[in-house]
Symmetry: C2
């Protein structure tokens, strides 16, 4: 069975809101193993909506239309669907009674329009709003109509639409996403070219993200366990080829991986940021439970803060400059010492757009990595981009640099 997701609403065409509903339904369908080849969006216009429904059914067995079920004049999805199927509209008495009972005397004009549905349809109850969902089946075509507000759509879909859809499908989809830092999408594809070319089930898809690459492996089978087993050997092979660059899987963030490594080694951490100014510590604090590990973050943008708070010797800044490997080292060591942490990251660089020189251009970033008992390391990067991309990349590479340093003794797999 193939499904097309059809979003209805002029506010989407004007870009007033981002279409999170389509992503929600798409992800849910992928998990159910239901194929989607197209998504489309039309405004609150009867003719264009009927045409869009007809066009969708040229290639899809089913459409899921989102939005336009309410009582106002621009809510036209039920009428357009009825017209496509050549049926009339009727009042669903049970829904009407429910709506009247719920509204309990509160004035709300046109509220009875919520109960008007295409003739011969079935109803999906709306536990969080007035307009019910609709399923219309005729001539081998199925139209499912869902309300637009996410807090109505999501529970309705989960509780009432999913059981309906499960009955219509046979196989299950399962996927794993391997998250990679330190090599670009093009290089990843070269390194996996033979696997990608030979892919059948699971499929192998690389996705470029800011500063990283994700590889999604998706298998379909009669059960989740079988699908997992289909993915396992391919995942193992990809680990074998890319291991030190794979920092985690699925929902696990780089910061979570780093926090786990710190905890496993009984480390505490302090962060001293100049050009990245809060991005690294913010990524750590995004993870619940970081307080066990995170001593503090210091945003030492000024030289005064570097000397007063981090005890960076003035002479180092004077001799080598605030943006120098020496300052990066002194910041990392100072952060660890003054906060009594066993690990520290520091950043200092030229984020631009001003302040660059031919010797120290915009995009030059030094990252200091201190780990108790080891020599403090400095990573040097030249990120050619805008101020905020430079900052974002510097923060990510700093976090990934620490991950690699912490993993060095734990893993032995080499490319």
């Amino acid at each position: 069975m193939t499904v097309e997701i059809l979003s209805v609403g002029t506010e989407l065409l004007l870009g007033n809101i981002v279409n999170t509903n389509a992503a929600f339904i798409a992800e849910a369908l992928a998990k159910l193993g239901i194929t989607t080849y197209h998504q489309s969006t039309v405004g609150d216009n009867h003719e264009r909506l009927v045409a869009a429904i007809a066009h969708a059914f040229e290639t899809a067995d089913m459409i899921i239309a989102i939005g336009g079920l309410g009582p106002t004049l621009d809510d036209i999805t039920k009428a357009a669907t009825a017209e496509y199927f050549g049926v009339g509209l009727t009042t669903h008495e049970e829904t009407l009674r429910l709506i009247e009972a719920r509204s309990a005397g509160r004035f709300s004009e046109n509220i009875e329009r919520n109960a008007i549905v295409p003739e011969g349809c079935s109803i999906l109850p709306n536990d969080h709003g007035q307009a019910p969902g609709v399923i219309m089946e005729k001539n081998g075509k199925i139209a499912m109509l869902l309300p637009g507000p996410p807090h109505e759509l999501e529970p309705m879909f989960t509780h009432y639409a999913v059981p309906f859809l499960r009955e219509k499908t046979s196989s299950v989809f399962y996927s794993r996403t391997l998250k990679i830092m330190g090599i670009g999408e093009a290089k990843v594809e070269v390194m996996l070219q033979d696997l990608i070319e030979a892919q059948t089930n699971p499929t192998i898809a690389p996705y470029a993200k800011v500063g990283e690459v994700h590889i999604r492996l998706t298998a379909s089978a009669e059960s989740e366990g079988v699908a997992q087993n289909l993915i396992e050997p391919i995942a193992k092979e990809i680990y074998h080829r890319l291991s030190p660059n794979i920092y985690g899987e699925d929902e696990k963030s780089l910061a979570e991986t780093v926090l786990d490594l710190l905890k496993a080694n009984n480390h505490t951490i302090a962060i001293a940021e100049s050009c990245t100014g809060g991005l690294i510590v913010s990524d750590l604090i995004a993870v619940s439970g970081c307080s066990e590990v995170l001593r503090e973050g210091l945003i030492a943008y000024s030289n005064e803060a570097k000397t007063a708070r981090l005890k960076v010797p003035e002479l180092i800044i004077k001799t080598y400059g605030a943006v120098s490997p020496q300052t990066a080292i002194a910041m990392a060591e100072g952060a660890a010492r003054t906060s009594n942490a066993s690990v520290a990251i520091s950043t200092t660089g030229i984020a631009g757009p001003d302040g660059g020189t031919s010797e120290k251009p915009v995009g030059l970033v030094y990252i200091g990595l201190y780990i108790e008992g080891r020599e403090t390391q400095v990573l040097t990067y030249n990120f050619a981009s805008s101020r905020n991309i430079i900052r974002t990349r510097a923060a990510k590479f700093a976090m990934d640099g620490l991950r690699r340093a912490l993993q060095e003794k734990n893993i032995s797999i080499k490319i």
Copy 2:
């Protein structure tokens, strides 16, 4: 001219990412006065993409295709476009030289594929990535191809696509966006209802953003000056009604407004963050030139950091708790004193998902505002949401609280 936005990518069909690009382009087109009746999404499949292009051109004069311009095997948008227009593919030599110069010897196979474009097209430079944009015009049809990564697409669209689109439209569109914090979209709509209902030229469109509302005023006229004059009286009336809630216009961020206010009053600032952990200072550092004003940021997530770095008396934390108005005050005052700043913001709260109690639930956030010569203020919020939405909202409301406090003596307009 009507445009269809065509998003390309299997990751969209699988719901792995939300299509923010379509909303970005849709909003930008609305601003230019360009009509869009349809948006569609297809996967990385050559046949279906060619069919989608052909279908889009049945009703649109122009398509804007997003994604699939990169060097990997599933990047097929350029080939599909070339096939639709009946032309071949060729290497754009200038782009190739640029890519080679930029990659400067770093190994990256297939990188030259970025320079392969449809014959007879023109190029939109990519200042933040390898794959250029493409404009293909033939037989009265225009296809504009843009890269998928938002940090590449957005500047390319703004700098290179907008001037092209302006030339294709006859009248001039001019717009101003008033940025509002502290009142929700529904209330804004009620407060402006008569203006919204009577709108003709300029149009008045509210956009709901995370924690804020934007009102876009768009006028069309024969010249920009005339369009500006059409907007002026409506903008004035909206300021009259909403003034203290309007923090800025157009591209100006809340952090920029705050930095301007600090500079104008010869203030310096220190930030002491607990639950927001780096988000506030990061927003300030995102603005170039903040170093004149920003003394330092301290992320004092642990109680030790609060007492050692910010000199918060242990007794205050013991008596009232780390999440308390008293601690927020002591953090703000401590940050100002220890860094010799004249202004300070502090945050302390329960970001969740754990750590909430019936007395101090998840979402409770105290914001301390210290301004030299005034009594330290505490703002209390209850943000009911997920960890990162709570943190983001807290950071925004802290910044906006400081804006209001700094503006108090400068403005006198009241709702």
